[in-house]
Symmetry: C2
């Protein structure tokens, strides 16, 4: 069974798959009479296809047993999907270009001040967290049409980096 | 000088001004092969007027000196504006129906697992936080047109509840 190890999440490495939402290396706008900084426009939210609109949800995720077995991947043909962690704890992102091509997979370790926004149709695995009851704010699409495609893949295991 | 005291933030009390984003009393959808719960569609994101689209940003806010002096209010005529805290710490929300009518103001204490989404044109005060470097994820509008109206108001002070 192939064993995939994650790399640190960076905007550059993740660019083919979507946005990394973080304030690092973003010029801040000074707002609110000097009492706040705004790091503006960090994600390409793409949800309006087929009369879709923006959906804001909360997710609470549980850790999977380790080693984590990957046996399916999913994509959303009608909209982007953004996840931002609500605790300052690491989590993990798994994407691929072709679910049937093991060489096309990339795993990323995100820290607790990094979110991601998957582009439409980017293959990804559901939320991968390490702590119980890990909370996320999610910005994706609501509207008519079928917006979930899941595919079974030859199982392999994902070995997170341990601190 | 009038002194305004906040009430606890609830969906019912805040309904005239917008949405409270929280998982309490929301039926969870079981997703991700049982490894996550989704609390779906918690806010009415209203950003498409005049060719607008959804903007996701990070804010870092600083506390104002207490007692907090309120001398302006603002509204966004072209879009809703959503704030969700990224630390599990209380914060405060101040809204009104008419900036020149002191009787029309309402202040709310939000806990750290509550966000708000101001409807278009709802008068509100900028972020009010108690801890240094308080982080928020913000979902509002990006696009052409003038989307900020500020008005000076007769100064009054806001006295937060202390724990």
């Amino acid at each position: 069974m192939t064993l995939l190890r994650p790399q640190p999440l960076t905007k550059e490495a993740f660019a083919p798959f979507g946005d990394v939402i973080e304030s690092v290396d973003v010029a801040a706008l000074n707002i609110n009479q000097g009492f706040a900084e705004r790091f503006n426009n960090l994600a390409s939210v793409d949800v309006t296809a087929e009369d879709g609109s923006t959906n804001v949800s909360l997710f609470t995720a549980q850790p999977r047993p380790q080693p984590i077995v990957i046996d399916l991947m999913e994509r959303h043909p009608l909209g982007s999907q953004l996840f931002y962690p609500l605790q300052d704890e690491p989590w993990m992102v798994l994407v691929c270009r072709d679910p049937q091509d093991s060489e096309s997979y990339s795993a990323f370790m995100a820290h607790g001040r990094q979110g991601v926004n998957y582009k439409r149709n980017v293959w990804h695995f559901p939320l991968l967290v390490f702590g119980a009851d890990s909370r996320f704010l999610v910005v994706d699409r609501i509207g008519p049409g079928k917006n979930l495609v899941e595919v079974a893949v030859s199982p392999f295991s994902l070995q997170p980096q341990t601190a």
